[in-house]
């Protein structure tokens, strides 16, 4: 007997989703037959606000595009502005930037561990990983003066140099985290429940992934080796030795494995960066922000953020503020087009797990 379809609303406030957005689900029994996303609950117009700020002021907005990973956005904006102006950045600043970016990657993946675990009812994972993430936030606090919104990478370099003895504390934290990864392995990836709830669920078709512009772990979970750090290296990535984890399958499990392996690669990068950190200046000073104008033109910079490729397109009309500062992130494709498609045929109980695995970030959709 065919069951009658009902409509279910998830969000805009819901502990299982990754930010304020809503999904209208048409369900038959436990099976979703249609999903319609509704965004607009978080609209904060960062791009428009940037047009009313000068080039430097605007940088303080960038971290808010996505709470779990503020740094890649800051870095991409700064690099786009530098490209536009033709401003060089000292080597030490580039290394410090990569250090921050990779620490941010680890911190963001740990937060994702928590979300992915909790969405399946495995709450211990989240308690551990958010606690471990705090050790990285401690490092951020020491380096940048803030825990979450660092506002550290700005046009011209970074804001402050490393405090004394910082390298040692970074390495110590890395050693600690590396030791913890095996424990996560036992708790999460060896866990029968986790496997059962992720393997073969929400499979992304390889062809579709390419066609739709899926990026980051969801793309690499489809067996496609794509990473801006290798494909179009920026900062100092071309001098660093690391691998890009790729898994076949396209399901939540494959995406989880990609993320898991990325933590190890990030630890590897952080160690190299600390070892090879050059001396010298950390900042190529920009002019007085009130009167800092950039010649007419446009520039595009892209970065491999945690959720995938993000890009910044900045346009200058020759004045002291951006005429346009447009960000292209993973969240629009992953959180709207892909999510609506992939939810079709899925189980209602898997909705938040699927959202987590895609790395949707509503504030970035509504940038």
């Amino acid at each position: 007997m065919r069951e009658k379809a009902t409509t279910l609303y998830i969000g805009p406030q819901h502990p299982g989703i990754t930010g304020n957005m809503m999904i209208r689900l048409k369900v038959e029994g436990d099976t979703i037959v249609k999903a319609i996303t509704e965004v607009g609950y978080l609209h904060r117009s960062f791009e428009k606000l940037a047009e009313r700020r000068n080039w430097l002021q605007a940088f303080t907005l960038m971290c808010r595009f996505c709470v779990p990973e503020p740094d890649p956005v800051e870095e991409t904006y700064s690099r786009a502005v530098e490209l536009l102006e033709g401003r060089s950045v000292p080597d030490r600043a580039k290394f410090l930037r990569v250090l921050v970016l990779e620490l941010a990657r680890i911190s963001s993946q740990l937060l994702w561990y928590g979300g992915q675990g909790a969405s399946l009812g495995l709450y211990t994972i989240g308690q551990w990983s958010v606690g471990d993430r705090n050790y990285i936030l401690d490092l951020f606090e020491e380096l940048t003066g803030a825990r979450v919104y660092h506002m550290y990478i700005w046009p011209g370099g970074v804001r402050r140099d490393m405090p004394e003895g910082f390298e040692k504390r970074v390495l110590k934290t890395m050693d600690y985290l590396e030791g913890r990864l095996d424990e996560y392995e036992a708790l999460m990836f060896d866990n029968a429940i986790f496997k059962k709830r992720t393997q073969g669920i929400a499979i992304i078709d390889k062809e579709k992934a390419i066609e739709w512009g899926v990026v980051g772990p969801p793309l690499r979970g489809c067996g496609i080796k794509s990473d801006i750090r290798i494909d179009d290296p920026y900062e100092v990535y071309e001098h660093l030795d690391f691998e890009i984890p790729v898994y076949e399958g396209g399901d939540i499990w494959a995406r989880a494995l990609v993320r898991r392996d990325e933590i190890r690669q990030s630890i590897r990068i952080v160690r190299q960066v600390i070892k090879e950190m050059p001396g010298g200046s950390y900042y190529n000073k920009v002019p007085n922000p009130q009167k800092w104008t950039i010649q007419k033109g446009d520039a595009y910079a892209r970065t491999e953020a945690v959720r995938g490729e993000i890009g910044f397109y900045v346009v200058s009309d020759g004045s002291n503020h951006p005429r346009r500062a447009h960000m292209r992130g993973a969240a629009y494709v992953h959180g709207i087009t892909l999510l609506e498609d992939i939810l079709k045929g899925a189980n209602v109980a898997d909705v938040s797990s699927i959202m987590n695995s895609l790395g949707t970030c509503p504030p970035e959709i509504e940038r």
Partner: protein, 597 residues
């Protein structure tokens, strides 16, 4: 996974070993987490170092900072008297306010906890509301991390040796790129405008220069200064002394930027075309002006724009007063002055040259022919030292010497000149003498740092090989057998602190007599007014006090029809104060005559 996953079921239980671990995040009794050494928490402001420039408020992209009047902080030169107040409900702790603070007084602290149900209490004046924040400062400004640009773009100049070969202008002026770069350092706080006697629109014209709008800059400048190129070259620039950037670096070169803007229009027609002033229809009133110095020219220009019929009476054959006859041409070339005067006369100002009021025309006549009179007569009579030998041949007054030199007359000072004094006139006389191939010594009674002359002038003099002898008090001039001066005898002085709190006083040291051989001595210890042109009733009616005319806020003397300005009124005795006097008098004259009508 059709079979039972034994490993997958058991391995999560490995988490049980956590029970044996020491917890990291729970403390008992509760301890607050100590923030990192660079933490960006609540603001702290060192009230005494803060100058209220408001740059923190300008950069704040959340509009969380406003500048408010704070009890105990009074406005003074270089301090607006305002202090930042932070709305912690809006602040995002980005710390840009700290990184743009020119003084480095604003910082962020390790304090981050505040709970209140009173929303107004989140408005917080750092430094006042948290005096204890001083011990908790964590995120602060250093010159290295600051966003302020503390280094001035150097002004290209002729080399010292090259300079003394001629009267060519020493300062070469900024080129376009240099001017833009220098202008872009300005943070537009406006502390400069406050101390400028004329309250010129400094941030506005610097902003125009930074933005590449030189013509706009010129229009803004001409709004209240008709002699900007003069100020751009020789102004005493008190604005730069209070520049916010100067608190930790080199002040914005305000004077040189004005110079740059004015030099972009190199003739009077072009100035007229750019400034394109609105000249009002003739209103039928006549104003007579005594003296074509900076104050007289300023009054004349703005009166003419307002439709007055203006006539200037000038005893010399050229206009400009002291800026023409006192300031040497290597500082202020004649064509530069002439260009500005041509522009002023082009809008209808009449100048009667070689017409000395009191000789060629009586003051009474000027008074009767006009509806109002403005006197910008200057300080022309030099003070004398009052020591033995001052009347000798070869002993001259610096202003007289400079007047002759600037008039193109042949002056012979020989090859060894001593200049007595420490003001700009002394330095000018010394540097002019150096250009006449003399070996020059400046004798000054106090220390070099006490010299009232512009520091750049003092440096310039030193570069040109002029020997400055500080703490030297001349006591006698000796003559040779022909009655010409041969040497100066002076006593060395020691500096004795002033009990009244004033600057230290030089006290001669007995027996320290020293003799310098000279061919000429130039006295430059100051000038005074000569008001002999005021005869009869005017001598009575127009009151003076300590050698200066008594005026009200509109420069009106005790005779309501007579206004005065310049050195004969103000004690600062510089061109910009004279211009300010002239500008104020315009308002006074307009008010008096137009109201009457």
């Amino acid at each position: 996974m059709s079979f039972f996953d034994l490993k997958g079921t058991l391995s999560p239980f490995s988490a049980l070993k956590q029970f044996g671990r020491k917890p990291h995040t729970i403390q008992y009794p509760k301890e607050d987490k100590e923030a990192a050494d660079r933490y960006r928490g609540f603001h702290y402001n060192e009230m005494e170092d803060c100058i209220g420039c408001g740059n923190c408020s300008t950069i704040c992209q959340n509009a969380a900072i406003d500048m408010v009047k704070v009890e105990g902080q009074e406005a003074s030169k270089g301090d607006s008297g305002l202090r930042p107040r932070v709305d912690n409900g809006r602040c995002c702790w980005c710390g840009l306010c700290v990184d743009v603070c020119p003084t480095g007084s604003l910082s962020l602290t390790k304090d981050y906890l505040y709970v209140s149900d009173d929303a107004d209490s989140f408005l917080f004046t750092p430094g006042l509301d948290n005096p204890g924040g001083k011990d908790n400062v964590s995120f602060f400004s250093t010159k290295e991390s600051s966003l302020n640009d503390f280094a001035r773009i150097p002004m290209p100049e002729l080399e010292g040796k090259e300079r003394i070969k001629s009267f060519a202008e020493v300062v070469l002026g900024y080129n376009e790129a240099e001017a833009r770069a220098e202008a872009s350092r300005c943070i537009s706080c406006g502390l400069c405008s406050e101390v400028c006697p004329e309250h010129m629109h400094i941030p506005e014209y610097i902003n125009a220069i930074a933005g590449g709008n030189d013509q706009d800059a010129l229009r803004i400048i001409y709004d209240n200064n008709p002699l900007p190129e003069m100020c751009g070259k020789v102004c005493t620039r008190r604005c730069e002394d209070v520049c916010a950037i100067q608190t930790r670096g080199e002040a914005i070169a305000i004077r040189w930027l004005k110079r740059y803007a004015t030099e972009t229009a190199d003739n009077a027609e072009l100035i007229r075309e750019i400034v394109n002033p609105e000249i009002k229809e003739a209103n039928g009133y006549k104003v007579g002006i005594v003296g074509a110095g900076p104050s007289g020219l300023t009054a004349a220009y703005y009166l003419a724009l307002r439709g007055f019929d203006v006539s200037i009476y000038e005893s010399n054959k050229q206009a400009g007063g002291m800026t023409m006859y006192g300031i040497p041409k290597y500082r202020f070339p004649e064509d530069s002055l002439q260009k500005q005067i041509d522009y002023i006369t082009s809008i209808g100002v009449k100048i009667h040259f070689n017409t000395s009021v009191g000789k060629d025309i009586s003051f009474e006549e000027v008074y009767k022919q006009n509806d109002a009179v403005f006197m910008g007569v200057g300080f022309l009579k030099p003070w004398t030292l009052g020591i033995e030998g001052e009347e000798l041949k070869g002993s001259e007054q610096a202003v007289t010497f400079l007047h002759a030199a600037n008039s193109g007359l042949q002056v012979d000072v020989g090859d060894k000149v001593a200049v007595i004094g420490g003001g700009n006139v002394a330095i000018d006389a010394a540097r002019v003498s150096a250009r006449m191939n003399a070996e020059v010594t400046i004798l000054y009674r106090r220390r070099v740092e006490d010299m009232p002359a512009d520091w750049e002038e003092i440096e310039g003099a030193e570069d040109e090989g002029i020997n400055i002898v500080p703490q030297a008090i001349p006591i006698k001039f000796h003559s040779d057998e022909t009655g010409r001066i041969k040497s100066v005898e002076y006593l060395k002085a020691k500096m004795v602190p002033d009990e009244g709190g004033g600057r230290p006083k030089p006290v001669p040291i007995e027996g320290s007599n020293t003799i310098v051989e000279v061919t000429a001595v130039l006295g430059a210890i100051g000038q005074q007014g000569d008001y002999s042109f005021l005869k009869g009733e005017f001598e009575e009616k127009i009151k003076t006090e300590r050698g200066r005319f008594v005026v009200n806020e509109f420069q009106q003397t005790s005779d309501p029809k007579v206004f005065a300005g310049g050195d004969a009124v103000n004690r600062t005795a510089d061109a910009i104060s004279a211009i300010a006097d002239g500008y104020r008098a315009v308002k006074g004259i307009e008010e008096m005559l137009m109201k009457k009508a």
